[in-house]
Amino acid sequence: MKSDNPYGTGVTHHMLSVLVKNRPGVLARVTSLFARRGYNIFSLAVAPTEEDDYSRISIVVDVESAPLEQMVKQLFKLVDVVRISELDPRKSVERELMVATVKSAAEERGQIVELVNIFEGKILSVGPDALTVSLDGSPEKLDDFSELLRQYGIIESQRTGRVALPKLDRIARKSAPKGKAS
């Protein structure tokens, strides 16, 4: 599995895009399955899709904790899970949003604003000694931004977890089986 790891060697995070019926408790079913089987979730984002009846859960899983194939098959056994795609980062677009409140004494404010502009982020809120900024982009870009902000002092920050869809310029790879487990 390591050799064809699209995230590069040593990276143990894979992304699953899970289409589920949009009903009460469905997220609990997915997360309790992960807890019960000892699978680790790195990040998770969930929202309704273009069709009201369905939601899409984007899960970044840690394949150190269990083989990806087992995770996919166990997920498929949930009656409310309709489809699972493993998203290859080379063939999908990934985005994540981060908001962060950063310490900014008056003399440092200019530097931070410049940094936000370089990264094409936004200033959401300005206080006497702090700024709240937002940035969306690839998870790596957010990592870089976050690292650069750190020197000023991050008071609080929140990331959404990745969301992704297959790229349009080629047919999305469907690595997961089409049939549904019992």
């Binding site: 589920v20 019926k21 009460p24 408790g25 609990a28 079913r29 309790s32 399955l33 019960r36 083989p67 194939e69 087992q70 098959k73 166990q74 498929f76 056994k77 949930l78 009656v79 409310d80 899970v81 309709v82 489809r83 089986p177 049939g179 549904k180 487990a181 019992s182």
Partner: protein, 591 residues
């Protein structure tokens, strides 16, 4: 209000719709106990064609439903109220989940307006049972009831069977709905995420057939899935066509006749030396509806080291969960085995030859001869041997007798010493290992197959967990027979303390005379018999077999020191099987 009083034919209360839905699902019997929130559903039950068996504890209802499902193949149904009743049902649900037993459980719930307020007898039933059910649902509108019940039966009985729980708030049972019943297509369309694969992949089946014909030391590793798929006949055809020996796991006893020359008995922790060793030495394991349980494999990295694996299972997640298969086949065992037989016949017809399995078979037969199940016989005046009692019950049992056991030493002896020659004659708690399973499961089995003799083999520890259901059996006239192998200990725990904890016995002793099991049985409306000496064994069994108007309990007071052999200790390799001491001298033959 009953069905007949309903204003319009098609307008029902949720409660009426629930009971009618159960009738539409061909339910003929259910096990349960009423209480506050499920009360409305018990009213239309009075007019229903469904027989309701009133239990003494909700756990009993669950195990009865399991016993019923085990022997009939039809889903067992249990109905109880909210809160403590639902939590009492958790053990049977988990038991059914682990052993893939089709079961539908209805629980009452506090009214929708009270959910989340910590109301009287409220608990988060769907939350609590999520990980022990194949699926569960909280129903928020009476209109949803018929579809939910129809889906429950569909999910419980198809693919890998399992328990489904439907939680129904009291006000949903009381509100009005317009009756409908979904068609099979509507049920399937309503479950876009549920499409079990039943037909095996043709190319994989052909590959399996080729591998089978090429192998010199093949072994059929048969699990409970073969019974769930009603595949015993197909299995027999496959075994006889290829002359491949068969091991049947604890969940599969009876799937292949024990008196067949190809039968090697049970593998695993307390399996026969032949079955365990055959797995270790095999070059091809054909796993059919088996899940490579730790009690079968012993230490996984030392399990069947030279064997290739063909793994047939209806649950794709079982493929590669423990051991990576060389040929994975997802599908229903019966359909796949039938296709496999066809593929092998086609290959043979086209001139392919099967490798010579003769030397392998004679090696296996040698083990069978050298290492039969054995125990030290009763000594005159000495303690009665539990295996001896089992042999006597077995020899006196009418054909087709169903054997039900609890969990522990008695369970292993029962599985070892009984001769299972027919499918669906063995009921036990395999995966979860639920002490107390046997009495209620035997009651459910007898309800499902009233034409058959049902013997429950129990331990003195197990019996004390669920014995009160014998009151249910007496009052409902369900004449089961219970043989307690009373060694006045938690026998299996004692065995481990003797073997692995330096005989430092800790909290395993149960006094032989308290309770007095025979008197307790009489108090519950059963016939109670106590057996202390070898000379009384046969007459007690004959008496038990002759009584058919009430349950009978026979208390066999047996040797406390007797242990279950062979044994593969936890975490050890199957190669390091501990033999019955009298066979140690022959150990070198296990090569």
């Amino acid at each position: 209000m009953s069905h007949r009083d309903a204003k319009h034919n098609d307008e029902l209360t949720g409660a009426q719709a629930l009971i009618k839905s159960l009738e539409m699902s061909s339910v003929d019997v259910m096990f349960g106990l009423p209480g506050g929130c499920i009360l409305p559903a018990y009213d239309p039950l009075i007019e229903s064609t469904i027989r309701h068996i009133l239990v003494r504890h909700e756990q009993g209802a669950g195990h009865m439903a399991e016993g019923y499902a085990h022997v009939t193949g039809r889903p067992g149904v249990a109905m109880v109220t909210s809160g403590p009743a639902a939590t009492n049902m958790v053990t049977p649900l988990c038991d059914a989940y682990m052993d893939s037993i089709p079961m539908v459980c209805i629980t009452g719930q506090v009214p929708t307006s009270a959910i989340g307020t910590d109301a009287f007898q409220e608990c988060d039933t769907v939350g609590i049972t999520r990980s022990v059910t194949k699926h569960n649902e909280l129903i928020m509108s009476a209109d949803d009831l018929p579809m939910a019940i129809a889906q429950a039966f569909h999910i419980a009985t198809t693919g890998r069977p399992g328990p489904v729980l439907i939680d129904v708030p009291k006000d949903v049972l009381q509100s009005k709905m317009k009756w409908y019943w979904p068609t099979a297509d509507e049920i399937e369309d309503s479950l876009p995420g549920y499409k079990p694969t039943t037909k095996g992949h043709a190319r994989m089946i052909k590959e399996a057939a080729q591998l089978i014909l090429r192998s010199e030391k093949p072994l059929l590793y048969v699990g409970g899935g073969v019974l769930k798929a009603r595949a015993a006949e197909a299995l027999r055809e496959l075994a006889e066509l290829t002359q491949i020996p068969v091991v049947t796991t604890l969940m599969a006893r009876g799937a292949f006749p024990d008196d067949h020359p190809l039968a090697l008995g049970m593998p695993g922790m307390h399996g026969t030396a032949t079955a365990v060793t055959a797995m270790q030495k095999s070059d091809l394991l054909i796993a059919l509806g088996a899940r490579f349980d730790d009690r079968v494999t012993g230490r996984v990295n030392a399990f069947a080291p030279d064997a290739k694996i063909i793994h047939v299972d209806v649950d794709p997640a079982e493929q590669g969960k423990v051991r990576k298969p060389d040929v994975p086949i997802v599908g229903d065992c019966r359909l796949v085995i039938e296709e496999m037989v066809k593929a092998i016949k086609d290959l043979l017809a086209s001139g392919a030859l099967q490798a010579d399995v003769g030397p392998w078979r004679s090696r296996v037969s040698g083990w069978k001869e050298q290492f039969p199940l054995a125990y030290d016989k009763n000594e005159p005046g000495g303690a009665l041997k539990p295996q001896f009692c089992l042999e006597k019950i077995r020899d006196a049992a009418p054909d087709g007798t169903i054997l039900v056991s609890g969990v522990g030493q008695h369970q292993m002896w029962a599985s070892q010493y009984w001769q299972f020659n027919e499918p669906y004659t063995w009921v036990n708690s395999g995966g979860l290992g639920t002490m107390g399973f046997s009495v209620p499961a035997a009651i459910g089995a007898k309800v499902g197959r009233p034409d058959k003799t049902v013997w429950a083999i129990d331990g003195d520890g197990c019996f004390q967990m669920t014995a009160q259901e014998l009151v249910t059996a007496s009052i409902e006239r369900i004449p089961i027979k219970v043989g307690i192998l009373n060694n006045s200990n938690l026998g299996m725990v004692r065995q481990w303390q003797e073997m692995f904890y330096d005989k430092r016995y800790s909290e395993v002793y149960f006094p032989k005379d308290i309770p007095n099991f025979a008197k307790w049985a009489e108090a519950m409306g059963c016939v109670g018999i106590r057996v202390d000496d070898e000379s009384e064994v046969e007459s007690a069994i004959d008496k038990a077999n002759s009584i058919n108007d009430r349950p009978v309990v026979v208390d066999f007071c047996v040797d406390s020191d007797e242990k279950v052999f062979p044994m593969v200790a936890v975490g050890q390799s199957n190669d390091d099987i501990i033999l019955q001491p009298s066979q140690n001298a022959r150990r070198e033959f296990l090569r």
